[in-house]
Protein backbone atom coordinates (compact mmCIF):
# COMPACT_ATOMS: atom_id res chain seq x y z
CA UNK A 1 0.00 0.00 0.00
CA UNK A 2 1.14 3.48 -0.76
CA UNK A 3 -0.03 6.99 -1.35
CA UNK A 4 -1.37 7.71 -4.85
CA UNK A 5 1.14 9.74 -6.85
CA UNK A 6 -0.29 12.48 -9.05
CA UNK A 7 0.76 12.52 -12.69
CA UNK A 8 1.79 15.80 -14.26
CA UNK A 9 -1.37 15.68 -16.35
CA UNK A 10 -3.45 15.61 -13.19
CA UNK A 11 -1.45 18.38 -11.52
CA UNK A 12 -2.13 20.60 -14.53
CA UNK A 13 -5.88 20.21 -14.01
CA UNK A 14 -5.76 21.77 -10.54
CA UNK A 15 -7.30 25.23 -10.64
CA UNK A 16 -8.95 24.73 -14.02
CA UNK A 17 -12.61 25.56 -14.43
CA UNK A 18 -15.34 24.07 -16.61
CA UNK A 19 -17.25 26.38 -18.97
CA UNK A 20 -19.94 28.24 -16.99
CA UNK A 21 -23.39 26.66 -17.06
CA UNK A 22 -26.65 28.49 -17.10
CA UNK A 23 -29.03 26.85 -14.70
CA UNK A 24 -32.69 27.77 -14.81
CA UNK A 25 -34.57 26.71 -11.69
CA UNK A 26 -37.96 25.35 -12.63
CA UNK A 27 -40.99 24.50 -10.55
CA UNK A 28 -41.32 21.06 -12.06
CA UNK A 29 -37.75 20.08 -11.36
CA UNK A 30 -38.01 21.23 -7.74
CA UNK A 31 -41.16 19.14 -7.31
CA UNK A 32 -39.59 16.14 -9.02
CA UNK A 33 -36.52 16.37 -6.82
CA UNK A 34 -38.57 16.76 -3.63
CA UNK A 35 -40.64 13.69 -4.53
CA UNK A 36 -37.49 11.71 -5.36
CA UNK A 37 -35.89 12.40 -1.97
CA UNK A 38 -39.23 11.99 -0.17
CA UNK A 39 -39.42 15.58 1.10
CA UNK A 40 -43.08 16.51 1.52
CA UNK A 41 -42.51 20.09 2.68
CA UNK A 42 -45.19 22.09 0.84
CA UNK A 43 -42.66 24.87 0.17
CA UNK A 44 -41.01 22.43 -2.25
CA UNK A 45 -44.17 20.79 -3.60
CA UNK A 46 -47.26 22.94 -3.42
CA UNK A 47 -47.25 25.90 -5.84
CA UNK A 48 -50.23 27.61 -4.22
CA UNK A 49 -48.98 27.17 -0.70
CA UNK A 50 -45.57 28.57 -1.70
CA UNK A 51 -47.19 31.53 -3.47
CA UNK A 52 -48.89 32.52 -0.20
CA UNK A 53 -45.65 32.26 1.78
CA UNK A 54 -43.28 35.09 2.52
CA UNK A 55 -40.87 33.64 -0.07
CA UNK A 56 -43.69 33.83 -2.62
CA UNK A 57 -42.69 30.89 -4.83
CA UNK A 58 -41.52 27.30 -4.68
CA UNK A 59 -38.26 27.04 -2.82
CA UNK A 60 -35.59 24.56 -3.83
CA UNK A 61 -34.57 22.17 -1.04
CA UNK A 62 -31.02 23.15 -0.06
CA UNK A 63 -29.75 19.87 -1.51
CA UNK A 64 -31.35 20.54 -4.89
CA UNK A 65 -28.57 22.62 -6.36
CA UNK A 66 -25.07 21.25 -6.23
CA UNK A 67 -22.87 19.35 -8.56
CA UNK A 68 -23.66 17.10 -10.36
CA UNK A 69 -27.34 18.06 -10.33
CA UNK A 70 -26.61 20.61 -13.01
CA UNK A 71 -28.60 20.48 -16.13
CA UNK A 72 -26.22 20.38 -19.05
CA UNK A 73 -23.16 19.21 -17.14
CA UNK A 74 -21.90 15.82 -18.23
CA UNK A 75 -20.25 14.38 -15.16
CA UNK A 76 -19.32 11.19 -16.97
CA UNK A 77 -17.25 13.08 -19.51
CA UNK A 78 -15.63 14.98 -16.70
CA UNK A 79 -14.62 11.78 -14.90
CA UNK A 80 -13.33 10.37 -18.19
CA UNK A 81 -11.15 13.46 -18.54
CA UNK A 82 -9.59 12.78 -15.15
CA UNK A 83 -9.03 9.15 -16.10
CA UNK A 84 -7.34 10.22 -19.34
CA UNK A 85 -4.98 12.36 -17.24
CA UNK A 86 -4.05 9.38 -15.06
CA UNK A 87 -6.79 9.03 -12.42
CA UNK A 88 -7.62 5.45 -11.34
CA UNK A 89 -10.93 4.07 -12.62
CA UNK A 90 -12.60 3.24 -9.30
CA UNK A 91 -14.82 6.06 -8.22
CA UNK A 92 -16.70 6.91 -5.04
CA UNK A 93 -18.28 10.00 -3.64
CA UNK A 94 -16.33 11.17 -0.60
CA UNK A 95 -18.08 14.15 0.91
CA UNK A 96 -19.93 17.33 0.22
CA UNK A 97 -19.92 20.71 1.88
CA UNK A 98 -22.37 23.54 1.24
CA UNK A 99 -22.33 27.21 2.06
CA UNK A 100 -25.86 28.52 1.64
CA UNK A 101 -25.71 32.22 0.98
CA UNK A 102 -29.07 33.11 -0.54
CA UNK A 103 -32.27 31.06 -0.95
CA UNK A 104 -32.88 29.52 -4.36
CA UNK A 105 -36.36 29.22 -5.80
CA UNK A 106 -38.43 28.69 -8.92
CA UNK A 107 -37.65 31.25 -11.58
CA UNK A 108 -34.06 31.88 -10.49
CA UNK A 109 -31.38 31.83 -13.15
CA UNK A 110 -28.08 30.67 -11.78
CA UNK A 111 -24.70 30.61 -13.39
CA UNK A 112 -22.67 27.67 -12.11
CA UNK A 113 -18.90 27.62 -12.37
CA UNK A 114 -17.26 24.32 -11.52
CA UNK A 115 -13.60 24.47 -10.61
CA UNK A 116 -11.16 21.71 -9.73
CA UNK A 117 -10.06 23.20 -6.42
CA UNK A 118 -7.60 20.48 -5.56
CA UNK A 119 -6.30 17.01 -6.37
CA UNK A 120 -4.34 15.11 -3.73
CA UNK A 121 -2.74 11.71 -3.42
CA UNK A 122 -3.65 9.73 -0.30
CA UNK A 123 -3.70 6.27 1.06
CA UNK A 124 -7.10 4.94 2.11
CA UNK A 125 -8.53 1.51 2.79
CA UNK A 126 -9.23 1.35 -0.95
CA UNK A 127 -5.45 1.50 -1.51
CA UNK A 128 -3.64 4.39 -3.22
CA UNK A 129 -6.36 6.97 -3.67
CA UNK A 130 -6.73 10.23 -5.48
CA UNK A 131 -8.94 12.80 -3.78
CA UNK A 132 -10.46 15.47 -6.03
CA UNK A 133 -12.17 18.53 -4.62
CA UNK A 134 -14.55 20.41 -6.89
CA UNK A 135 -15.80 23.80 -5.96
CA UNK A 136 -18.94 25.03 -7.63
CA UNK A 137 -20.11 28.60 -7.25
CA UNK A 138 -23.70 29.46 -8.12
CA UNK A 139 -24.43 33.11 -8.82
CA UNK A 140 -28.04 34.22 -9.22
CA UNK A 141 -29.64 36.71 -11.61
CA UNK A 142 -29.14 39.51 -9.05
CA UNK A 143 -25.39 38.90 -9.09
CA UNK A 144 -25.39 37.36 -5.61
CA UNK A 145 -23.46 34.21 -4.87
CA UNK A 146 -26.29 31.94 -3.74
CA UNK A 147 -24.35 28.80 -3.00
CA UNK A 148 -20.85 27.40 -2.85
CA UNK A 149 -20.65 23.62 -2.99
CA UNK A 150 -17.51 21.57 -2.44
CA UNK A 151 -17.66 17.96 -3.58
CA UNK A 152 -14.92 15.51 -2.84
CA UNK A 153 -14.64 12.25 -4.61
CA UNK A 154 -12.22 9.39 -4.45
CA UNK A 155 -10.58 7.62 -7.37
CA UNK A 156 -8.77 4.39 -6.52
Amino acid sequence: MAVFVLTDGLKKLIGTAEPPLLYKIEEGSIQRFARAVGDSNPMHNDVEFAAQSEFGRLKAPPSFTGWPVTSGFDMFQFVEKLIAAGAPRGNLDGSVEYEFKAPIGAGDMLVAVIKIANIEGKETRMGPTMVTTLETTYTNQRGEVALIARNQFLSF
Binding site: R32, E80, R89
Partner: protein
Protein backbone atom coordinates in the same frame (compact mmCIF):
# COMPACT_ATOMS: atom_id res chain seq x y z
CA UNK B 1 -30.23 18.40 -38.93
CA UNK B 2 -30.99 17.00 -42.35
CA UNK B 3 -32.42 19.28 -45.00
CA UNK B 4 -36.15 19.90 -45.09
CA UNK B 5 -38.24 17.09 -46.57
CA UNK B 6 -41.05 18.03 -48.96
CA UNK B 7 -44.22 16.23 -49.98
CA UNK B 8 -42.85 15.93 -53.51
CA UNK B 9 -39.75 14.11 -52.19
CA UNK B 10 -41.64 11.04 -51.03
CA UNK B 11 -43.48 8.25 -52.81
CA UNK B 12 -45.32 5.21 -51.54
CA UNK B 13 -42.53 2.83 -50.56
CA UNK B 14 -40.00 5.61 -49.79
CA UNK B 15 -37.82 4.72 -46.85
CA UNK B 16 -37.50 6.87 -43.77
CA UNK B 17 -33.87 7.62 -42.93
CA UNK B 18 -33.10 4.93 -40.32
CA UNK B 19 -32.09 5.96 -36.80
CA UNK B 20 -29.72 3.87 -34.68
CA UNK B 21 -30.28 3.48 -30.95
CA UNK B 22 -28.60 1.56 -28.15
CA UNK B 23 -30.54 1.03 -24.95
CA UNK B 24 -28.38 0.74 -21.85
CA UNK B 25 -29.19 0.27 -18.18
CA UNK B 26 -27.99 3.84 -17.73
CA UNK B 27 -30.41 5.10 -20.35
CA UNK B 28 -33.28 3.30 -18.60
CA UNK B 29 -32.46 4.99 -15.30
CA UNK B 30 -32.21 8.33 -17.08
CA UNK B 31 -35.51 7.74 -18.84
CA UNK B 32 -37.22 6.77 -15.59
CA UNK B 33 -36.09 10.04 -14.03
CA UNK B 34 -37.03 12.20 -16.99
CA UNK B 35 -40.41 10.60 -17.58
CA UNK B 36 -41.51 9.71 -14.08
CA UNK B 37 -42.03 6.07 -15.00
CA UNK B 38 -40.50 4.26 -12.03
CA UNK B 39 -41.93 0.81 -12.65
CA UNK B 40 -39.46 -1.63 -11.01
CA UNK B 41 -39.86 -3.84 -14.08
CA UNK B 42 -37.19 -1.67 -15.67
CA UNK B 43 -34.47 -1.90 -13.01
CA UNK B 44 -35.17 -4.72 -10.55
CA UNK B 45 -33.97 -8.18 -11.57
CA UNK B 46 -36.16 -10.27 -9.25
CA UNK B 47 -39.27 -8.23 -9.93
CA UNK B 48 -38.80 -8.64 -13.67
CA UNK B 49 -38.25 -12.37 -13.20
CA UNK B 50 -41.45 -12.67 -11.15
CA UNK B 51 -43.40 -11.14 -14.04
CA UNK B 52 -42.04 -13.75 -16.40
CA UNK B 53 -39.97 -11.44 -18.60
CA UNK B 54 -36.63 -12.81 -17.39
CA UNK B 55 -34.81 -9.60 -16.57
CA UNK B 56 -35.42 -5.85 -16.66
CA UNK B 57 -36.74 -4.74 -20.05
CA UNK B 58 -36.54 -1.52 -22.06
CA UNK B 59 -39.52 0.79 -21.42
CA UNK B 60 -42.04 0.48 -24.24
CA UNK B 61 -42.38 4.23 -23.92
CA UNK B 62 -38.67 4.68 -24.56
CA UNK B 63 -38.94 2.72 -27.82
CA UNK B 64 -41.98 4.83 -28.65
CA UNK B 65 -39.88 7.95 -28.03
CA UNK B 66 -37.29 6.60 -30.47
CA UNK B 67 -40.01 6.25 -33.11
CA UNK B 68 -41.06 9.83 -32.48
CA UNK B 69 -37.38 10.81 -32.85
CA UNK B 70 -37.26 8.91 -36.16
CA UNK B 71 -40.28 10.80 -37.47
CA UNK B 72 -39.39 14.31 -36.29
CA UNK B 73 -35.82 13.97 -37.65
CA UNK B 74 -37.20 12.88 -41.00
CA UNK B 75 -40.02 15.41 -41.45
CA UNK B 76 -37.91 18.37 -40.34
CA UNK B 77 -39.11 21.57 -38.76
CA UNK B 78 -41.70 22.37 -41.39
CA UNK B 79 -43.29 18.96 -41.09
CA UNK B 80 -46.00 18.31 -38.55
CA UNK B 81 -46.51 14.98 -36.82
CA UNK B 82 -50.27 14.43 -36.53
CA UNK B 83 -50.70 10.88 -35.28
CA UNK B 84 -48.45 8.12 -34.04
CA UNK B 85 -49.23 4.78 -32.56
CA UNK B 86 -47.24 1.71 -31.70
CA UNK B 87 -47.61 -1.70 -30.15
CA UNK B 88 -45.09 -3.56 -28.08
CA UNK B 89 -44.89 -7.10 -29.39
CA UNK B 90 -41.80 -8.40 -27.68
CA UNK B 91 -39.24 -7.66 -25.01
CA UNK B 92 -35.98 -5.82 -25.51
CA UNK B 93 -33.15 -5.94 -23.01
CA UNK B 94 -30.73 -3.08 -22.35
CA UNK B 95 -26.98 -3.43 -22.58
CA UNK B 96 -25.12 -3.22 -19.29
CA UNK B 97 -22.46 -0.57 -18.76
CA UNK B 98 -18.74 -1.31 -19.01
CA UNK B 99 -17.53 2.18 -18.08
CA UNK B 100 -19.43 5.34 -17.17
CA UNK B 101 -19.99 6.03 -20.82
CA UNK B 102 -19.45 2.85 -22.74
CA UNK B 103 -21.84 -0.08 -22.86
CA UNK B 104 -20.91 -3.71 -23.19
CA UNK B 105 -21.51 -5.45 -26.50
CA UNK B 106 -25.12 -6.40 -27.03
CA UNK B 107 -28.18 -5.48 -29.00
CA UNK B 108 -28.33 -2.49 -31.30
CA UNK B 109 -31.70 -1.19 -32.42
CA UNK B 110 -32.71 0.46 -35.66
CA UNK B 111 -35.77 2.63 -36.01
CA UNK B 112 -37.07 2.35 -39.54
CA UNK B 113 -40.11 3.03 -41.60
CA UNK B 114 -41.59 3.51 -45.01
CA UNK B 115 -44.30 5.50 -46.68
CA UNK B 116 -47.56 3.59 -47.14
CA UNK B 117 -49.79 6.33 -48.48
CA UNK B 118 -49.67 9.96 -49.59
CA UNK B 119 -52.69 12.14 -50.14
CA UNK B 120 -53.96 15.69 -50.05
CA UNK B 121 -56.74 16.53 -47.63
CA UNK B 122 -58.01 20.09 -47.49
CA UNK B 123 -54.90 22.24 -47.58
CA UNK B 124 -52.68 19.57 -46.05
CA UNK B 125 -50.22 17.21 -47.74
CA UNK B 126 -50.43 14.06 -45.70
CA UNK B 127 -48.09 11.11 -45.59
CA UNK B 128 -48.83 7.88 -43.80
CA UNK B 129 -45.99 5.63 -42.74
CA UNK B 130 -45.45 2.29 -41.15
CA UNK B 131 -42.72 2.47 -38.56
CA UNK B 132 -40.95 -0.03 -36.36
CA UNK B 133 -37.96 -0.72 -34.15
CA UNK B 134 -35.94 -3.78 -35.06
CA UNK B 135 -33.04 -5.45 -33.29
CA UNK B 136 -29.89 -7.06 -34.73
CA UNK B 137 -31.82 -10.23 -35.45
CA UNK B 138 -34.31 -8.29 -37.54
CA UNK B 139 -37.06 -8.83 -34.98
CA UNK B 140 -39.63 -6.06 -35.00
CA UNK B 141 -40.64 -5.93 -31.36
CA UNK B 142 -42.24 -2.50 -31.65
CA UNK B 143 -44.40 -1.68 -34.64
CA UNK B 144 -46.67 1.20 -35.43
CA UNK B 145 -47.78 3.87 -37.80
CA UNK B 146 -47.58 7.61 -38.14
CA UNK B 147 -49.44 10.32 -39.99
CA UNK B 148 -47.59 13.48 -40.88
CA UNK B 149 -48.16 16.67 -42.83
CA UNK B 150 -45.31 17.80 -45.08
CA UNK B 151 -44.71 21.17 -46.72
CA UNK B 152 -45.07 21.34 -50.49
CA UNK B 153 -42.57 22.85 -52.90
CA UNK B 154 -45.54 24.22 -54.84
CA UNK B 155 -46.42 26.71 -52.10
Amino acid sequence: MAKQLYYEDVEVGSEITPLKKIATTRMLVQYAGASGDFNPLHYEEDFAKSLGVGKPIVHGLLKRAWLVNLMTDWIGEKGGLKKLSCRYRGMDYPRKMKTFDEPHDGDTWWCKGKVTKKFVQGDENLVECEIWVENDKGEKNTTGSALTALPSKAK
